[in-house]
Symmetry: C2
Subunit: 412 residues, 2 copies
């Protein structure tokens, strides 16, 4: 690696040109934490160079949020400031672009607060607006920025350089031509989602230590990768890194148990040893070695919070997984191994789902919730099968390896 | 002084309880720069303790702004994001409170940029909305937060402790009971504005090295201090520190020259050796030893930018002046010595001016502009007189001392 500023510029370029794929004349909204300022600034410069009409950075401060959770009147705990909702709505109307920067320097900041208040303090209206525009007119991406606090969480010491190196590997910044490497990588993920779509499985089965679950798919459902397109036709890469192919399952069909294989950093808490049991699509038991009380309140947040909104498959060739690092950051950990998510399901996964009301979504088994939270259940010990309507099981991931034949391989 | 956190808490208390005077159930909006986060957080905690319904902190990043000024399309240079305007409008509608935190860690950040673009890059709509709500339903205040960058500018070394000590003196944090000291101080300033109001001067004359100007007052104009009241009846202290009594003059009547006695830090530039000549209320010449090009563009920003919106009197007993420090921060420097401001005039200075249109304000000689910028013209060498309609001159400040008799002294 060369200087930090050169890496930062290359990373900002990847985020703006490949991730968001900012178009000339578009407005770019950036959501960041204070500690992400160096990347936000590099992104602003890169975005203007790419022809942005305006770059609007909103910095959130989890310490201000902590003061709110501690002492605000309970009726304002979940309040979404209307101007923040308006900001996203206007971005949608004007077909702008959105970049979220993540990487929490203090993932345990809320762990000592009242679990019920922490869970209630989510800005639902803002999250729902965010889902709506990212499902629609806005091209968007999520990237992470390494800080001393985050490095401390990951390595037990504030070794930011080491975290930069891991991020460079995971995001292909270490390649001679990162942009070309990304195009090739996205092509490969596209072949996997094509293979899954061609297979038309009725359900997916995961089986491993503590995990044995069957999750139903929509007959007309679609698998895809993070290479998406806005409704305005702008292609983008929603996550950097990304190693997954994913879909939204039938929210009414999940039966069995799952055991998380990674810790989950979520809203100022770290959940360890998470185990859930599903019946008829719904989580009926939630246990954890740490953070259980918070997680139970979280899963009870709204009707869709206890149902699945995503199934995602990641093999052990994943660049993130190969670092061997637990990042305590979902953007990375979800791309290390297979995962599922409770909450909001993607409209892109179900043809004709765009613009459905909450009730219509429920009727079609596409989950609706103000939250969408991935957690990791994959490992080389967890095998995954596609289950045909006939009951036949076809291996997809075996010992962590991708074994479902790809179209190109079939043809060969 | 005790620990930094104890000082920070005491300072936040002063800002919330005396400055803004937050009322239970009010929403508090805080405008800060990234570097002000420690104070913003202390203010959030104090505001919730005082019964805030919600504390909404907006952090601005001058480096993102720099990228904007450097490379944004020129037609978006002065664009105000509608959600930021909406944020202030809602605050007004809901009769909320506003705290601005200032103290620029990099006051020369824009000095190498194109002066015309820097001047054009002001968010006029946002500033006008801000003027409207702070002239009306919102109780508000401005405080400063010391950073290494600011200390470097002031002392030539990043001695934040020394800056804290100066701020503690200026804001009476060094008093055994800062709240009581503030009440006593505000009472004294009130006596000065009462004396000026009782005198019913027709004009004010300033005379000293490089300065010889006569500025007309409104026959029914009012002098006041930073102890103001919102239209909702909440008293507040608009600036901390504050040492001034001030009014808005007749914007059509200013003739003569002024020479700034302090440098002026403004929009990423420092203007040194500023000299202006006024004719018929309008600045017809603008010179400066440094920053002249920027200042000329700035004064040409809009029609009211070249006319006066404020006259303010500060004697040499000022706590800020007594520190002997040039702060390169208007909140402090304007309270070290007498000053005037170009731009927006205060509706409180002219009975019946609330709700006047821009045209009606012009017709009544109350200046209107998207900017309001103070600059210091006072010193012990600059004497100030009140000029009666008869032409009689009555000394107000002589050798830096306040010499206009106060009501209580008259009675004695």
């Amino acid at each position: 690696m060369t200087s930090v500023s050169a890496v930062l510029e290359a990373y900002a370029r990847l985020a703006v040109r490949i991730g968001v794929n900012l178009q000339p004349g578009q407005r770019l909204a950036v959501n960041a934490m204070l500690v992400h300022a160096p990347l936000a600034r590099a992104v602003a410069a890169e975005a203007y160079a790419a022809g942005a009409s305006y770059v609007d950075v909103y910095y959130s401060d989890p310490h201000v949020r902590r003061a709110h959770i501690e002492a605000a009147p309970s009726e304002t705990l979940g309040w979404s400031p209307p101007w923040r909702v308006e900001r996203l709505e206007r971005l949608g109307e004007d077909r702008g672009a959105l970049l979220a920067i993540v990487g929490d320097p203090e993932p345990l900041l809320f762990a000592d607060l009242d679990a019920q208040r922490v869970s209630s303090a989510r800005m639902r209206q803002l999250t729902e607006t965010s889902h709506r525009i990212t499902d629609g007119p806005v091209n968007w991406s999520i990237v992470a920025y390494p800080s001393e606090g985050w490095a401390q969480t990951v390595f037990g010491e504030p070794d930011v350089d080491r975290l930069w190196e891991a991020i460079a590997v995971a995001t292909r910044l270490d390649e001679p031509d990162p942009v070309a490497a990304w195009h090739e990588h996205l092509e490969r993920l596209g072949q996997r989602s094509d293979a899954l779509n061609a297979s038309r499985f009725d359900a997916i089965r995961y089986r491993g230590p503590g995990t044995d679950i069957l999750v139903g798919l929509h007959p007309d459902g679609r698998w895809f990768s993070a290479r998406e397109s806005s409704t305005g036709g702008v292609p983008f890469v929603a996550n950097m890194p990304t190693e997954e192919v994913f879909t939204s399952p039938d929210a009414r069909r999940a039966d069995g148990t799952v055991a998380a294989t990674y810790p989950l950093a979520l809203q100022g808490n770290i959940i360890r040893g998470l185990r859930m049991r599903f019946e008829g699509g719904r989580a009926v038991e939630v246990h954890a070695d740490e953070g259980e009380e918070f997680m139970r309140a979280y899963v009870a947040s709204d009707d869709g919070a206890a149902r699945l909104g995503e199934l995602a498959l990641v093999d052990r060739e994943s660049r993130v997984g190969r670092t061997g690092i637990v990042f305590y950051e979902t953007l990375f950990d979800e791309n290390a191994t297979s995962h599922i998510a409770i909450g909001y399901g993607f409209v892109q996964a179900l043809p004709g789902a765009e613009g459905l009301s909450e009730e219509e979504r429920h009727a079609r088994g596409l989950n609706f919730s103000s939250l969408h939270t991935d957690f990791m259940i994959g490992s080389p010990e967890v095998d995954v099968w596609g289950v045909a309507a006939s009951g036949t099981e076809v291996p997809i991931l075996s010992g962590g390896d991708w074994v479902l034949p790809l179209a190109r391989e079939k043809a060969a």
